[in-house]
Amino acid sequence: MKKTLTREEIDKLAKLSNLTLSEAEMTKIGSQFEETIKYVENLNDLDTSQVSNITNVTGQENKFFEDGTENKRLFTQEQATANSNCKKNGLFVVPKVFK
């Protein structure tokens, strides 16, 4: 398993994660990555060939709510937009995107 990440790979990861990293952060995180990945490879010590399909940690299944249940959490437009500092006519203003 490859341990060293190229600068290009870190760039790509940052893009996927929607993050901007400074030069210093790129270098630091890059090297720490390697240490972490090296450590977690110890999982290969353990044989998991007999482990069946993963289920939820609680082992539960089939949890739902019934369609049409009363909505006790509805926000007014005021409440929904209260925490935004970029709104117009009840809509959230976002950075311009191409259609």
Partner: protein, 437 residues
């Protein structure tokens, strides 16, 4: 040398369900026309700490759609997170399904051809991104509405097939009563993936797919389906003629120019980083539960029954069964009257009678109209002659001005005709006969 090409088209269709609640919260799924951001809660707004809980009916309806498309319904199914960043996606991921969808391996026969259905799965809708002047704005009223995604095999070879398929699918969805499936309102959306295969190329296996495909978005009505696909096929052929390969990308259909326009490159396949949704335990269905999800009689079966049992001409059966509301009305009329189904069909198809009246009213009007056509004139004239002869004193009274006498005579003729003539017709003929006598 120009090569010849064979289109390879697959479809991705999204159907917005008409449940009462959204997919993962109790906000109303009816968001159309509401004030912006007035139909949200912590869950569909993607607030910190909010959690999704699935809507049971939405899942049932997804199974219903899968069954109607002859799919295998998976006994185990689960939700997964699909990650990408876009302003209308509040959580930065969409809760969808990846490797264990609700339904797989189905098919739909349209006309003579059968098209493969790869999968049918459940997911949530995004908010709505609007462009107003310089601004990009988002309304989350629609965020979280249940969406069923239907993916077909790349079995389509021309735009007519696609259009017919979509119309049939639209009809089926209406029959299931799970959605309006209205392309203009956005409750049914369609994106074709289009490419061209070079025909007669000895090297390429006819079963191999071309090494690129173009996704076309923003086709907002049935009418544009054919135009958009045909434009795209021509565009791609021109590129291939130059021995180049069309770029793998997403394009948008522009209604005004009637062309497809490049949007963003798809050359780098999205890395959606799917993983099982930890906030929602998986589903395991008992087979008898899956079996219990009832389907109504679907168009194909209905046409068959109309032809074989109701003795309706196939072409008429096809027309009738396209509209589910009409079908319901028609079948009620057939059930409650003893009029001949083909005759009722004729009345409806040829617009001889309106169907926006009550069933009883329709039956009454239909009965009149139909019995009028059945009147045998010689028999009627004989009956009138007989009644005049047997009721000469009543005739005299009528001639003297007693109108009620006429009604009596009409009644007598009706009895003679055993209901096979309509009152107004009888009256007219009687008056004629009496004045001629």
């Amino acid at each position: 040398m120009t090569q010849s090409y064979s289109p390879v088209i697959g479809l991705e269709i999204h159907v917005e369900l008409s449940t009462k609640s959204k997919m993962f919260c109790q906000c109303s799924a009816e968001y159309f026309g509401k004030e912006p951001n007035s139909n949200t809660c912590p869950v569909c707004l993607g607030l910190p700490g909010a959690l999704p809980v699935p809507n049971r009916v939405a899942l049932d309806w997804c199974i219903k759609i899968g069954k109607a498309l002859n799919c295998t319904i998976n006994v185990s199914t689960k939700f997964d997170r699909k990650h990408y960043s876009y302003p209308d996606l509040p959580k930065g991921y969409q809760i969808s399904q990846y490797d264990e969808p609700v339904a797989i391996n189905g098919s739909l026969k349209v006309g003579e051809k059968t098209f493969g259905i790869t999968r049918v799965h459940m997911e949530e809708d995004t908010g709505k991104l609007l462009h107003v002047g310089e601004d990009s704005l988002v309304d989350f009223n629609r965020s979280g509405v249940p969406l069923v995604e239907i993916v077909t095999e790349p079995d389509f070879t021309n735009s007519d097939e696609v259009k017919e398929f979509l119309q049939e699918l639209h009809t089926i969805i209406r029959y299931l009563e799970v959605s309006d499936a209205d392309m203009e309102k956005g409750s049914m959306r369609m994106e074709p993936n289009i490419s061209l295969r070079v025909v007669g190329d000895q090297k390429s296996d006819v079963r191999e797919l071309p090494n690129y495909k173009v996704e076309v978005k923003n086709i907002n009505s049935f009418n544009f389906v054919k135009k958009a696909i045909d434009y795209e096929l021509t565009r791609q052929a021109e590129i291939l003629d130059q021995s180049k390969t069309p770029e793998q990308e997403t394009r948008g259909y522009d209604e005004k120019t009637m062309k497809t326009v490049s949007q963003r490159s798809k050359e780098e396949a999205h890395d959606y980083r799917y993983f099982p949704e930890p906030d929602i335990p998986p589903f395991v269905f008992e087979q008898k539960f899956i079996d219990s999800i009832a389907l109504p009689e679907l168009p194909t079966a209905k046409i068959d029954r109309y032809v074989k049992e109701l003795k309706i001409k196939e072409i008429d059966a096809r027309i009738l069964t396209k509209d589910f509301e009409l079908v319901k009305y028609f079948e009620k009329v057939v059930e409650l009257s003893d009029l001949e189904p083909q005759k009722i069909a004729n009345l409806v198809i040829n617009s001889k009678l309106a169907t926006n009246v009550s069933i009883e009213e329709f039956i009454s009007q239909a009965t009149k109209l139909l019995s009028t056509k059945k009147t045998d004139m010689p028999t009627l004239m004989l009956a009138i002659k007989k009644v005049i002869a047997e009721n000469s004193d009543v005739v005299t009274n009528y001639k003297a001005g007693k109108l009620s006498s006429l009604m009596f005579l009409v009644g007598q003729v009706m009895r003679e005709m055993k209901g096979q003539a309509e009152a107004n017709l009888i009256k007219d003929k009687l008056v004629e006969a009496i004045s001629n006598s």
